[in-house]
Symmetry: C2
Subunit: 248 residues, 2 copies
DNA sequence: GCAAAAGTGTTAGAGGTACACCCATGA
DNA sequence: TCATGGGTGTACCTCTAACACTTTTGC
């Protein structure tokens, strides 16, 4: 039986009720740490738990449009301008205790954003450092995540980690223009590494289309130092050669 | 607003009707060519067009279970035993002319299978070489694909191409036990390459967990030749180092 | 013996790591 | 002039492509 043949004798009122939603894991760098936007639920179920921002897909709305709309609502920005891509769909029959909900999860990346503000039924909204959410985080204040959002967040985190290797995604964390060191701090934050600045510099500049140089230089930091050249995002969508992550 | 808050005041009878389906791109090697299973539609819309096998997700069914069930129905096998993974979801509002359908597409890979048989409302079912389906295929007999299945198939093809690089997916195309040359023919068919047998041999055997040797040897081919050692799939899920595809 | 396919050896080059070293700025 | 961070030079290592060559079979 093909996907749509069953529709031929389908009675809309008898169709198993399923809802389609989008959830978004929005990553950014705050204070040098990889962080993700979460909202605290104000209603049951999982009242008081933290969740990825998301919501139902409107009748005539495309999936990426729904994700961008939810993000814009949550971040208070007029239009979400960062990187947005689909991650995967989560459809375990019991993932929502009330009804069948299939969620199309997305990953978003943006440079430093204004503090999140709670909206709608959310009791609170804030950025959480992802390492404070990991299962091995020692903090007893570690938030409880609603539904299967811990799974989604883990998958989203892994997607970002691996996409830094072979795409210029790291640049989506940086406001333009940015320095090579800004870019390196993204890799260090996401991978938990301390990449060699010298080799990193050569690798980035030796990868065509990763960054485009400008004529400007950044001011040197509070402790002095040579001013760094400023760059913009390049046109490449894939990195050749890749920024290989060390296998420990 | 979070994903589920809208449910608090949700009236099931008023909810925008959306259906969730699964579609599966099942790849296999037939006659040395990468091929995909398609079924010909026997009912409107797109009657007579070819489509990926698929169908609606049942009320208490997980997404991978739905995909495996559809595959088993289409291939006539009791239980689908090959590789199966989620690809992405496709939810453009107008992708189905009758109602809102969000399809969770999957990619499947299996060794040589029995000829497909039409079932349910399908008028026909067969394996198509993927190069005969490409947009630049010169053949006027190139089948018309229903819905957005040409897009799904293109994405699925690209997924398989890239997963050969860093996972042992190629072994899922081979009946066990298999030779290194069998594995190489998978790469050549999927990538359209002519990999060097000598270097390929070393790379596969030098990648821990890709294949496990057996004590047996295959009979030599019709034109003679030294009998090749036989192998089984290894335990690795990721290849280190990867089988790098040449960038032309 | 000859063709064919499996499998090994060898060399040259590309790309990565580590680390020494120079450059430009603030205090 | 010292500390700091940006940026370059260089030696060494690993991995790979290319291809010559050996091994083992069928005819």
């Amino acid at each position: 039986m093909t996907e749509h043949d069953a529709l031929a004798d389908y009675d809309p009122n008898a169709f198993p009720p399923a809802a389609v939603s989008v959830d978004v894991a929005l990553f950014t760098l705050r204070g040098g740490r990889l962080s993700v936007l979460l909202v605290r639920r104000g209603v049951a179920p999982y009242e008081g738990a933290w969740a990825l921002p998301g919501g139902f897909v409107l009748p005539h709305e495309d999936l990426p449009a729904a994700a961008a709309r939810e993000l814009a609502e949550e971040t208070g920005v007029g239009r979400f301008a960062g990187h947005l891509e689909q991650l995967a769909s989560y459809g375990a029959p019991d993932r929502d205790p009330r009804m069948r909900v299939v969620s199309v999860a997305h990953v978003a990346v943006a440079p430093g954003l204004p503090p999140a503000r709670a909206a709608g039924d959310a009791a609170d909204a804030r950025y959480w450092p992802v390492e404070d959410l990991a299962v091995d985080a020692p903090d007893d204040d570690r938030p409880v995540l609603a539904f299967d959002h811990a799974t989604i967040l883990r998958d989203a985190h892994e997607r970002v980690r691996s996409k830094l290797e072979y795409t210029p995604l790291a640049a989506a964390f940086c406001d333009e223009p940015f320095t090579i060191a800004d870019l390196r701090r993204v890799y260090d934050a996401v991978w938990g590494t301390r990449l060699d600045p010298a080799n990193f510099q050569r690798k980035v500049l030796g990868t065509p289309g990763f960054v485009e140089p400008t004529e400007d230089h950044a001011g040197s930091g509070p402790a002095g130092g040579r001013p760094a050249r400023l760059y913009r995002r390049g046109s490449a969508t894939l990195l050749h050669p890749a920024m290989l992550r060390r296998v420990p």
